[in-house]
Symmetry: C2
Subunit: 364 residues, 2 copies
């Protein structure tokens, strides 16, 4: 094989050079979606993707003392920024083009999160599409949607990310789902000796058995470990993900794993859906509060397909039971008698996850 | 078959009678171990097994204003009473005959719980055996161990329970492990049409594949559901337990599942043990605190055998991931890439359970 090399250009200006390699890791991450609308380049509009962008937003809040913040996008970044800015006593509006925030949840569960946002005083504008920004003297003055103009002296964009793979594509490395780099389960690209990991790569979804793109630190870390072991001459595999994610808005916890209803429908799989309300602790124990658990399972077989949780403190981490059950391919019937921990400070005598499984079993 | 019947005697005096039955459920529960030592019948000594016994202890604390409480036994009841009495500002001593409290944990993990007890001001006396009570005027004055005499005006006995099966044994229903009623996976005893559920029955341990006795509300509830469905003409099974349990002492959470080291050794299985320390949240997130996770796995195969967790708030419920993995028969290698939820308020980017699994994989 001819000597392979990669062209290196320092971030701070300097002479570029060609660096020879035997093994190459592409870890170029993701870049935030920026909207191609009028005024998008104005001062006062922030994306959030790096530590530096977080520092800049905090500096703006500290020094410019904005009063009216508008967040565009109701995903994790949007939710977390809504919490942070409300805690700084800003007037916060959030614009989301879908019928509910957190579009990785089903609409009924997303509605609980919308309710939580309103509960902390966020003005929520659902089913509104960003059309542009009003700008004066180079600074943003308002966010313009298809329905209204929202005054703003601080704008946060939380429109999601896409894999940063222009470099890989230019080098001829094949891409897959949503332009992410295609890799095998050892994190090797279609080019031998060229590896990739993190937010720039495609993952495999262990429930849908399809390629899947997800940009999360927990996944990126696991992929990096596997790529590193293999590049170092060892053997490790990353079988894939089940789509677990978790967030919070003040005291309300939100978690999801597996497939949501619209994904299941797209796969043409017939399913049942069980949604139950319970408590995070024994009802008489101090601090007990509401938790809603939704479980999706295949009709007939009862195979677990996904789950979603919204509730008070102690709710969200229960999603890990469902994530583990998805990895293991359990059915809701298998789950009925899971020996989950019980003591009054931690759970009702039937853990809410088991109550949801019981309900699902009746429908399967 | 001849008409079957059961003799009924009201708790409050009355005429006994014979009640005919087609199906019979024995749900006689468990009774606390009471020590056969001098003075055990004195006033001021309380076992804890029913709501009524809890009410009596509270009444004693409220009305008799005891100052020096001694708890005998360092299991769940002992720990929870130590917390409750410390919160009522009593001087609390705890006597345990084993080298650490919580003997269902390995000694190294139990030591963390002992440390937590001392941290809340409990005087802890390990490796001391109860020999009797000093009594004056019919009231307890001191707890006597093989090493000392501890002044006490309130004594709590937390010596564990045994299945309450005298009635079943008298009726000729076969007993198993520790005198608990033997049942099949539908909760039927060896006598057709006679069922049993709850703290009076033997369970099957899904990890050791041996009969096992456990008295916990979560298990009893699942068994009751299964017995009820079957008695009603349906079909349900209770495959068994993996030995999950959870408790807390003030701010320290304690959880365990599967087999502990001494049980694994008794089975003659070669195993590895991985114990790691991590944080309950991202290290920079407010409220992050220490969590210790121990994982036990079979040498060679890597099959998960058990796990134990001690840590601050948010630590204990993570045991449910290990319980689910035990049900599914996962290996620590399977667990490495579990897609557990991550966001800074909930977990480091590698969940502590995964860090422990990573450590175990290296040793397998």
């Amino acid at each position: 094989m001819a000597q392979r090399r990669v062209q290196v250009q320092p971030v701070e200006n300097g002479r570029t050079w060609w660096e020879p390699f035997d093994q190459l890791l592409v870890a170029t991450g993701a870049i935030p979606f920026l909207p191609d609308v009028p005024g998008a380049g104005a001062a006062g509009i922030y994306g959030l993707s790096t530590l530096q962008s977080g520092i800049e937003v905090r500096r703006a809040v500290d020094q410019e003392q904005p009063r009216q913040a508008v967040i565009v996008g109701g995903g994790y970044i949007g939710l977390e920024m809504a919490e942070a800015l409300r805690l700084r006593d800003l007037d916060v509006s959030l614009v989301e083009m879908m019928p509910q925030v957190m579009s990785t949840l089903d609409v009924d569960m997303g509605a609980l999160v919308s309710q939580a946002l309103r509960g902390v005083g966020v003005h929520l504008y659902l089913e509104e599409r960003l059309e542009g920004f009003e700008v004066a003297d180079g600074r943003v003055r308002a966010v313009v949607t298809d329905k209204q103009s929202l005054p703003a002296d601080l704008v946060i964009l939380g429109l999601g990310v896409r894999p940063n793979t222009a470099l890989a594509a230019d080098a001829g490395i094949p891409l897959g789902q949503r332009g992410a780099i295609r890799v095998d389960d050892r994190m090797q690209t279609d080019i031998e000796g060229v590896w990739a990991a993190g937010d720039c790569v495609e993952s495999f979804h262990l429930v849908s058995r399809r390629p899947f793109y997800v940009a999360l630190g927990s996944v990126a870390n696991k992929q990096g470990r596997v790529a590193g072991i293999n590049i170092g001459g060892g053997h490790a595999t990353f079988p894939g993900v089940v789509g677990t994610a978790v967030s919070k808005i003040c005291t309300v916890e939100v978690a999801r794993t597996g497939l949501q209803e619209k994904e299941i429908e797209q796969l043409g799989v017939e399913h049942v859906s069980a949604r139950i309300e319970s408590q995070t602790r024994a009802h008489y124990y101090p601090g007990a509060g509401r938790i809603t658990v939704k479980i999706l399972a295949e009709k007939g077989s009862g195979r677990l397909l996904g789950g979603q949780i919204v509730g008070v403190e102690g709710a969200a981490k229960r999603i890990d039971v469902l994530a583990t059950a998805l990895h293991a391919g359990l059915t809701v019937d298998d789950m009925l008698n899971l020996d989950l921990s019980y003591a009054p400070p931690y759970s009702p005598v039937w853990d809410p996850v088991l109550i949801a499984a019981r309900q699902a079993v009746k429908l399967v």
